[in-house]
Structure formats: structure tokens, C-alpha cells
């Protein structure tokens, strides 16, 4: 893995500070951090918890590809992407993505690119568990 990219899938609580610290750089003018948290409700139903699973080696590869693209497209200096696996309660942190760039606009664009692409192409699956049922998110029309 490139020295300026940090990809992790973790069974333990994520710490945004780790990602921010990783991307700190004397050439950086801006750092943008996205923290994805578990909302209490989706489509009006109360969420009890989320369960994340992944195809780990492929997920890491895909995240790496996305980070490389972000470095290329947005001249990002450093990128850190951590994704949580296992069970998460409301308010828990599912994903943290931090990006540093020399100028701030690119940091917003690059961070947004990373989370948008992660949601499209990284083999991680989220099951929403409600009091009265459960669904694999995005699986059905």
C-alpha cells in the first residue's frame, strides 16, 4: 500500500482522530473528514442496530483503488479510510474518511468522491435490524 494511503477494516470502534492524524501534512492547507454515523431512523422505522460484513481482501483492494483515484484526480496528499465491521448501535461510527490537500476545495471534492465511490463499489454489506424485522440495505428495488 502506498505510504500516503491508510485503509483499514476494523471490528472495534473507529476513531476519527486516527484518520485526521494520518493525513496531517506540512503541505496541507485543508483536511476534510467524513464520519458516517448510524441514524436512529430509516424511512420512518426505528433502527435497533446495524450489522456490517465484508469480503475483506476485496474490500481493502477496492478502497485502495478509490484512494488512488482520489490522489490522481484531486491531487490529494494523504487519504485515510476506516470502515467498521460487526454490530453497531445508533450513533456508532460506521466509516471515517479523511483527506488532506494543499487547497480546501479539493479536499471536499476528494472526500466526497471517496465516500460516494465506497458506497458504490466496495464489497461491504449492511443489515438494518428493526424491532420487527431486518433488511439488507439497498439489496432490493
Amino acid at each position: 500500500m502506498e505510504k500516503n494511503i491508510d485503509i483499514q477494516l476494523l471490528e472495534t470502534p473507529l476513531d476519527p482522530t486516527c484518520c485526521e492524524t494520518f493525513v496531517s501534512d506540512p503541505e496541507a492547507g485543508g483536511i476534510v473528514v467524513f464520519v458516517g454515523t448510524v441514524r436512529r431512523k430509516t424511512a420512518g422505522r426505528e433502527v435497533v442496530r446495524l450489522e456490517f460484513e465484508s469480503y475483506q481482501p476485496m474490500a481493502v483492494r477496492q478502497m485502495q483503488i478509490i484512494a488512488n483515484q482520489a490522489v490522481e484526480k484531486f491531487s490529494a496528499l494523504k487519504i485515510s479510510m476506516h470502515h467498521r465491521l460487526g454490530n453497531l448501535e445508533i450513533g456508532g461510527v460506521a466509516v471515517v474518511i479523511a483527506v488532506s490537500t494543499p487547497h480546501r476545495a479539493a479536499a471536499f471534492d476528494a472526500c466526497r468522491f471517496c465516500i460516494d465511490e465506497l458506497k458504490k463499489s466496495v464489497p461491504i454489506w449492511k443489515k438494518e435490524v428493526f424491532a420487527d424485522g431486518e433488511i439488507w440495505v439497498a439489496s432490493h428495488p
Binding site: 458516517g36 456490517f52 460484513e53 465484508s54 469480503y55 481482501p57 476485496m58 474490500a59 483492494r61 470502515h83 460506521a94 466509516v95 465516500i115 465506497l118 458506497k119 458504490k120 463499489s121 466496495v122 464489497p123 461491504i124 454489506w125 449492511k126 443489515k127 439488507w136 440495505v137 439497498a138 439489496s139 432490493h140 428495488p141
Partner: protein, 80 residues
């Protein structure tokens, strides 16, 4: 050829295990593999999509499958 196919998320629940052993004719493509699963487990037709990964990369429909490839079913992803 005999193949072990890894399954995750809803694909794991549909097939009932972390992996399935299947038999496909030699020279089968990723699309053949996908058709095999759609036929054997009709529940897959209800998904938004079903993709095949070969050696940890998304496979095009015409990609040939080799017996020692690492094959996985990728139902709609939902990370983040």
C-alpha cells in the same frame, strides 16, 4: 469444473452458507456463473443486481472462469 463460490450478505443468506460448491462446464464465463445462480436460487432475480468477482476484482460478463480462481458472489453493496 468444480468451483467454490464465496457468498456474502444476502447472497450468503439465500444460498445458506459462506460458500457454495458448484459444477460448471469448463470454459464457463462470469455470465454463465451468474445464470447458474439465478436459475438455482430464484431469489437472486429480486435483487437490484448480482455481480461476480474473480480474484477479488469485479468481472465482466465475458470473463472466463478458471478452476483455481477465487470466485465470489457480490450482491448489492451497502457500505458507509
Amino acid at each position: 469444473m468444480n468451483l467454490k463460490v464465496l457468498t456474502f450478505g444476502i447472497a450468503r443468506e439465500i444460498t445458506g452458507g459462506n460458500a457454495v460448491q458448484i459444477d460448471l462446464p469448463d470454459g464457463a464465463s462470469a455470465l454463465d456463473l451468474k445464470r447458474f445462480f439465478l436459475k438455482k436460487y430464484p431469489a437472486f432475480s429480486n435483487l437490484n443486481y448480482l455481480q461476480i468477482a474473480v480474484n477479488q476484482e469485479f468481472a465482466a460478463d465475458d470473463q472466463p472462469i478458471l478452476s483455481d480462481d477465487e470466485i465470489a458472489l457480490i450482491p448489492p453493496v451497502s457500505g458507509g
